[in-house]
C-alpha cells in the first residue's frame, strides 16, 4: 500500500495511458473482456485517486519527481532550480482528478450497452482512456510544458471521439471545429510557455511563480493563457464550438468533454491564482473573469432556449454553467486585496468549486438522459419527440432530477452552490447576482421546454413500442442521480471535506511555491 501511495501521482496518469494502448490488444480476445478491462483500469485509477486524495487532505501538497533518486527530490545538490518532470498535487488537483475519473467510469459503464452495436469500439475505449490520461495529466502536473502536452492529448483524443459517428457528416464537421479550436488554443499556450521559458529559463509552475515579475512579456503570456484556457473551457464569446461538439458526439463522450472543459478551467485557475498569484492585479483580472462568466451565463442560457436538438441544447446550458463557476471564482479573485482575501471572496471560490463538482454531475446526468432518448427513439430533435414518460419511466425520473439540479432548485446540489455564488456575488455587486438568478430561472424554463416536448404529452404513435434503456445505462444514470441528491442534502459535508481544502489550496500560492522549492519541508 505504501508503494502505491508513494507513486500514486504518476500511477494515476500511467494506468489509463497504459490501459489505452493495451485495449486494442485485449479487444482481440473478446469485446466483453475489453469492456471489463476498461472498467477495471478505471476502478484502479479511481482507487489510487482516492488514496492520493486522502493523503493530500491529511498531509498537504504532494510532489512527485520523475526519474530522481527520490520522488521528492525537486532540487538536486548543485542545482539552483527544480529539474526533471515534477507532478505537484494539492487539494484542488485531487478534487479535479476525482471528477475526471468518476465521469470516465460512468461514461465507460454507460457505453457498455449504449455503444454496443457500433464498430471500432477498441479505438473508442482507447481514446476514452487517452482522454482521461490527458485530463489527469493536466490536473496533476506541476510543469507548464507538461500542461501543454496533456492539453494536446485531451484535444486530439477528444476530437477523434467527437468524430466517432463516422457515418454522419455533422460529426466530422464538429470534430474538425473542435480540432481547430483545440490546436489554436494549444498553440497559444505553447507560445505563452515559450515566453515564460525565455524569460525565466524554467518551466516548473512553482518555480516560475516564485520568480515572476509581471513584466510586459509576462502580461502577454498571461493574456494568451487566459484566452486559450477560457476558450477551451467554453467561455463566451469563444463558446461556439461547444454546442457543436457536445451535440454531435455520442452522449458518453459528451460527459467526458464536460470533464475536459473543467480541466481547462482548472488550468485557467492555476495560472491566475498560482502562477501569477504573487503579482497579479487581482481586481482587474478578477473582473475580466467575472465579465466572461456573466456573458457566458446570459448568452448560454438564452441561446439554449431557442435550440431544438436535445444534446445541442444541453451544450449551450454547459456554457452557462461554466459561467457560474467563473463568476464564483472571479468574485473571489476580485475580492483579494493587499494579499488577503475577503470572507465572502473565499466563500465565492468555494461556491465556484462546488459548482464545478455539481456541474459535472448535473450535466453528466442530462447528457446521459439525452443519450438514452436517442438510444430508444433514434431521434434527438425535440420537435419530433413527445410522450416518452409513458414508456421510459426511469429515464424520465432521472431527467427530472437533472432538471432540478441544473436549474438550481432546492434541495438539489445545484441550488446549494448557486446560492453561495449569488450571495457572495451580491456583496461585490448586486447586479451580478440579479443576472445570475434571472438566468437560473431561464435555465429552468429551458429544461421545462425539454421536459414538456420530449417526455410529457400523449403517447405518440411512432413511440408506442419504445422501451426503457438497458440496465447498465440506468445504473450509470442512477449513480449520478444518487450523488446529486446526496450532495444536495448534505452540501456542508462536501464543502468541509473537499471543497474548502481545494479553495484554500487555490489561494495559497505560497504553499505551492514553498513545497516545490523545498521550503515547506519536502
Amino acid at each position: 500500500m505504501n508503494f502505491l501511495l508513494t507513486h500514486a501521482p504518476i500511477l494515476i496518469i500511467a494506468l489509463p495511458l497504459l490501459g489505452a494502448f493495451l485495449t486494442p490488444l485485449i479487444s482481440r480476445v473478446h469485446p466483453k473482456v475489453r469492456n471489463i478491462f476498461v472498467l477495471i483500469i478505471l476502478m484502479l485509477t479511481g482507487f489510487l485517486t482516492i488514496l492520493l486524495t486522502r493523503d493530500v487532505l491529511s498531509n498537504g501538497i504532494r510532489v512527485y519527481v520523475l526519474g530522481a533518486a527520490s520522488s521528492t527530490l525537486t532540487t538536486p545538490t548543485g542545482y539552483i532550480m527544480p529539474v526533471r518532470i515534477i507532478l505537484e498535487t494539492d487539494a484542488l488537483s485531487v478534487l479535479m482528478a476525482m471528477i475526471s475519473v468518476s465521469l470516465a467510469f460512468i461514461a465507460a459503464l454507460y457505453s457498455w450497452k449504449f455503444m454496443e452495436n457500433r464498430t471500432g469500439l477498441d479505438k473508442y475505449y482507447t481514446l476514452l482512456l487517452l482522454l482521461l490520461a490527458g485530463m489527469l495529466g493536466m490536473e496533476l502536473t506541476g510543469d507548464m510544458f507538461n500542461l501543454f502536452v496533456f492539453l494536446e492529448i485531451t484535444s486530439i483524443s477528444g476530437c477523434a471521439l467527437v468524430a466517432f459517428y463516422t457515418d454522419r457528416g455533422e460529426s466530422a464537421e464538429a470534430a474538425f471545429k473542435y480540432m481547430v479550436i483545440g490546436t489554436v488554443a494549444a498553440l497559444f499556450v505553447l507560445f505563452a510557455v515559450a515566453l515564460l521559458y525565455g524569460e525565466y529559463n524554467a518551466l516548473n509552475i512553482g518555480y516560475l511563480a516564485s520568480r515572476i515579475q509581471y513584466s510586459f512579456i509576462d502580461k502577454i503570456a498571461l493574456v494568451l493563457l487566459i484566452g486559450a484556457f477560457a476558450m477551451k473551457a467554453g467561455s463566451v464569446p469563444m463558446h461556439m464550438w461547444k454546442p457543436d461538439a457536445y451535440g454531435e458526439a455520442p452522449s458518453s463522450v459528451a460527459i467526458m468533454l464536460v470533464a475536459s472543459s473543467l480541466a481547462s478551467l482548472y488550468a485557467l485557475l492555476r495560472v491566475c491564482f498560482t502562477l501569477y498569484g504573487d503579482v497579479l492585479n487581482t481586481v482587474v483580472v478578477g473582473w475580466v473573469i467575472i465579465i466572461l462568466g456573466i456573458l457566458s451565463i446570459f448568452v448560454g442560457v438564452t441561446m439554449a432556449l431557442v435550440q431544438n436538438k436535445f444534446a445541442r441544447l444541453i451544450g449551450y446550458t454547459a456554457v452557462a454553467e461554466v459561467g457560474y463557476m467563473m463568476l464564483g471564482v472571479g468574485v473571489g479573485l476580485a475580492s483579494i486585496a493587499n494579499g488577503s482575501i475577503a470572507d465572502y471572496g473565499l466563500k465565492a471560490i468555494q461556491g465556484g468549486l462546488f459548482h464545478v463538482m455539481n456541474d459535472a454531475l448535473d450535466l453528466g446526468l442530462l447528457f446521459l438522459v439525452a443519450g438514452a432518448v436517442f438510444y430508444s427513439t433514434g431521434k434527438s430533435d425535440l420537435n419530433r419527440l413527445g410522450g416518452l414518460a409513458h414508456n421510459m419511466k426511469y429515464t424520465t425520473i432521472f431527467f427530472i432530477i437533472g432538471l432540478a439540479a441544473v436549474s438550481g432548485l432546492p434541495p438539489m446540489n445545484g441550488f446549494a452552490s448557486k446560492l453561495m455564488i449569488y450571495e457572495t456575488a451580491y456583496q461585490l455587486n448586486p447586479i451580478l447576482s440579479i443576472i445570475a438568478i434571472l438566468a437560473s430561472i431561464l435555465m429552468l424554463a429551458v429544461f421545462v421546454k425539454v421536459f414538456h416536448s420530449a417526455f410529457l404529452g400523449p403517447r405518440l404513435k411512432e413511440y408506442e413500442n419504445v422501451k426503457e434503456v438497458p440496465r447498465s445505462m440506468l445504473i450509470a444514470m442512477g449513480i449520478l442521480a444518487v450523488f446529486i441528491i446526496i450532495f444536495g442534502l448534505f452540501p456542508d459535508t462536501v464543502i468541509n471535506t473537499i471543497v474548502e481544502p481545494a479553495a484554500n489550496a487555490l489561494i495559497d500560492y505560497q504553499g505551492y511555491i514553498n513545497k516545490i522549492l523545498g521550503l515547506g519541508g519536502v
Partner: protein
C-alpha cells in the same frame, strides 16, 4: 446543526427544507381528502370543453418544442435576431472571436494595468 451550509450572508439546510416539504405535502393531502367526491374517472367529466367543438386527436395537440416560448423569443427579437445570426457555425468566426478577446484582454491586462 447537521447539514447546515454557511453561504456567506446566510444559511441553507436541505434537511429542514425536505421536512417542511413533507409536512406541507401531508397537509395538502389531508385538505384534498375533504374535497368534492362526485368526480368520476373515465366519464364525461374528464373531457375538455372546447366551446362545443369536438376534441381533436391527442397526438395532434401535443405542443412541439419549436412552438414553446414563442412569445418570449418574439418579445426579445431585437436580441435574438443578431445573437442567432452571430452563431454562424463557421470555424473561422470562432477563431475571429478568440482573436478579438485576446486583443481586448491585451488592452485591459497588457496595457491597462
Amino acid at each position: 446543526m447537521f447539514g447546515t451550509l454557511e453561504t456567506s450572508a446566510g444559511y441553507w439546510n436541505a434537511i429542514i427544507f425536505v421536512i417542511a416539504f413533507v409536512v406541507i405535502a401531508l397537509v395538502v393531502y389531508i385538505l384534498r381528502a375533504f374535497g368534492e367526491k362526485a368526480y368520476k374517472k373515465d366519464s364525461e367529466q374528464t373531457k375538455p370543453f372546447l366551446s362545443g367543438n369536438p376534441e381533436p386527436e391527442k397526438e395532434n395537440v401535443h405542443i412541439r418544442a419549436g412552438n414553446l416560448f414563442w412569445g418570449f423569443t418574439e418579445a426579445l427579437k431585437d436580441y435574438y435576431t443578431p445573437a442567432v445570426k452571430e452563431h454562424t457555425g463557421i470555424v473561422n468566426d470562432y477563431v475571429y472571436w478568440f482573436v478579438i478577446v485576446l486583443a481586448v484582454l491585451f488592452i485591459i491586462i497588457g496595457v491597462g494595468t
